[in-house]
Amino acid sequence: MERIILDVDSAGDDILAVLFAAASPHVKLEAVTTVTGAAGSIEQVTNVVLNTLSLAGRDDIPVHAGAWRPIVGHAKADMEAPVHFEKRLTARFGDRLKKFNPPAPAPTRKATPGHAVDFIIDTVMSNPGEITLVTTGPLTNAAMALLQEPRLAGALKRLLVLGGTFQTPGNMTPVTEYNIWADPEASRIVLNAEVDKILVPLDICEDNRVATSMMTRDDIADMQAVAKNNPVVDMIADVFPIYVDIWREFFGLVGFPLDDVITVALAFDPGLATLTEPLFVDVLIDGHVARGQTVAYRGFQILPGGGPKTTRIGTDLDGRRFLKIFKDTLARYERTI
């Protein structure tokens, strides 16, 4: 069993990642930590996680709230762009969009006391070499933990980062992916850190070349067919068809991409992806369109540069096998509490 801390920003696929991590027999979910990102304020992000774990009957898993803002971020208007994007979606989908990233109802329990950064530091430092940190949102918490505890990098088993893009067009600007874009300074701290990392870029999540990894309405029906008295699958069947439709219509993908779930799966089954050799990966800080672009040092260049070669980048994915693991895990999941 992989001992995992899952750091999320509670967008749609984060919810599935939390459920998947909570349900997987291969994962010991030490805690979920939250970070401000795609789904809005830290309160919203945290409440979504609390509600999601309650649905799975896993109120035993600690939830620690984390960073409320990025280190630097971007102009306010750009930071709010995802909200305006939702308005466009409302115009297209009308009432059906009410199930997309709705305000979280008040959770039945509170977040666990203690900052996410402290939980990460304390857990990793008292279990050196044991803990894998999986980040599926902006990297603010991970960066703050590395800033506050210089020995953290040496004590982590591994870091899995959902973020960046190399060949596939970005989703914030043509060359940037949201998680990295949202906090480029934090991303740079994390990707430059001397710790074994697997980077999961858009190339193996949000690109039709890995179409077999995406969730369609048929996949939801498959899960329903197998599931018995399973509130997790009921929720997915209720909420996620609109996600499938949005990603088909607005992003031209064949289904809903499961970026965050893929990242969790790679924590215990890295063989699902084709990975590069360990490389130095950097993040562009200056520049407008390119602020937040991920740069991998590969090949041969005339200008010297680079840093610790500690990041393996996913370049391909066994989408069919991944999706089967995902569907089986959630469809056969039984609440024990």
């Binding site: 960073a67 800033l147 506050q148």
Partner: protein, 309 residues
């Protein structure tokens, strides 16, 4: 007079060291705690220096919390005025027997601020790594900071001895951005005033009259500390940090004016430059007070009075 309680974030550093001495010795100041950051030297050294100084002057009971080992978003560029140890010139000053508290500076600051009924003055004389990380991690402390008096920034540059960027801002401009965005009431004691409190002949003469081990120690610090200025600009050591600390005791030592301040994060030559919008041209609310005039003679009188027994 009730002393003003302060939390003191610093990177000693000779001028930080003198400010620490003043803070401890002034009856107008209650030193609640000291936090250290990288800046003039690496965090291990600035922390060791803070402990050495405090123990030596009899302030060993003041808690010290070590903070950031690097700026928030850039590699650490060390200051050059204070030498490799951060406190060259006084090799006879023993290493401390006291230890820092276990807490990280940002958690120590948050706990101290939140535990007090009234908002507290924070004095910062190094790069703002700790204060930036404090506001990122513990945003709810904001109303508990009565005032942040920070040695940093430069605005007017009326003289050639004043550089276009100031070291503390240059070292961690992202942290400064967080602080400026936060709405914390900040008074910026920048080079415009600190480069007017220079230790020259009259000040050395005054110091020579303080015939105590402390007087000799400060004199030895200043002789090392002034080398950078003396060799490059031909002037004595600037009492940057002591001036910032002195404002706790006597805020009338400087005049200030409000402005909206930005800090440049890009720029090939100007990252860390602090830019003031004095005339409200950007339509942004004032977010800082800038010290723009200083009574140098009164400052030095205060400083020497505090060094005297």
């Amino acid at each position: 007079m009730t002393p003003t309680p302060i939390l003191f974030d610093c990177d000693p550093g000779h001028d930080d060291a003198i400010a620490l001495v003043m803070a401890h010795r002034s009856p107008a100041v209650e030193l609640l705690g000291v936090t250290t950051t990288c800046g003039n030297a690496e965090i291990e050294k600035t922390t060791a220096n803070a402990l050495r100084i405090l123990e030596y002057i009899g302030a060993g009971s003041v808690p010290v919390a070590a903070g950031c080992h690097r700026p928030l978003a850039r590699p650490l560029v060390l200051g050059t005025a204070d030498g490799p140890s951060g406190l060259e010139g006084s090799p006879y000053l023993p290493q401390a027997t006291i230890r820092p508290v276990k807490q990280h500076a940002v958690d120590f600051l948050a706990e101290k601020l939140l535990s007090r009924a009234e908002p507290t003055v924070v004095v910062a004389t190094g790069p703002l790594c700790n204060i930036g990380l404090l506001l990122l991690k513990h945003p709810h402390v904001l109303p508990k900071i009565k005032q942040l008096i920070w040695m940093g920034g430069v605005f007017y540059r009326k003289s050639e001895i004043i550089t276009p960027t100031e070291f503390n801002a240059f070292c961690d401009p992202e942290a400064l951005r967080i602080v400026l965005d936060s709405g914390v009431p900040i008074t910026m004691v920048g080079l415009d005033v600190t480069m007017q409190v220079l230790v020259e002949e009259p000040q050395y003469a005054e110091l020579a009259r303080i015939d105590t081990p402390l007087g000799k120690l400060v004199n030895d610090w200043l002789l090392f500390y002034e080398k950078l200025h003396r060799n490059s600009m031909g002037v004595g050591g600037a009492m940057h940090d002591p001036l910032a600390l002195a404002l706790v005791i006597d805020p009338t030592l400087v005049r200030t004016r409000p402005a909206h301040i930005g800090v440049d994060l890009g720029g090939s030559y100007t990252f860390g430059a602090t830019v003031a919008d004095f005339w409200g041209e950007r339509g942004l609310k004032d977010n800082a007070l800038i010290a723009n005039e200083v009574d140098s003679d009164r400052f030095f009188k205060l400083m020497f009075d505090l060094l005297r027994d």
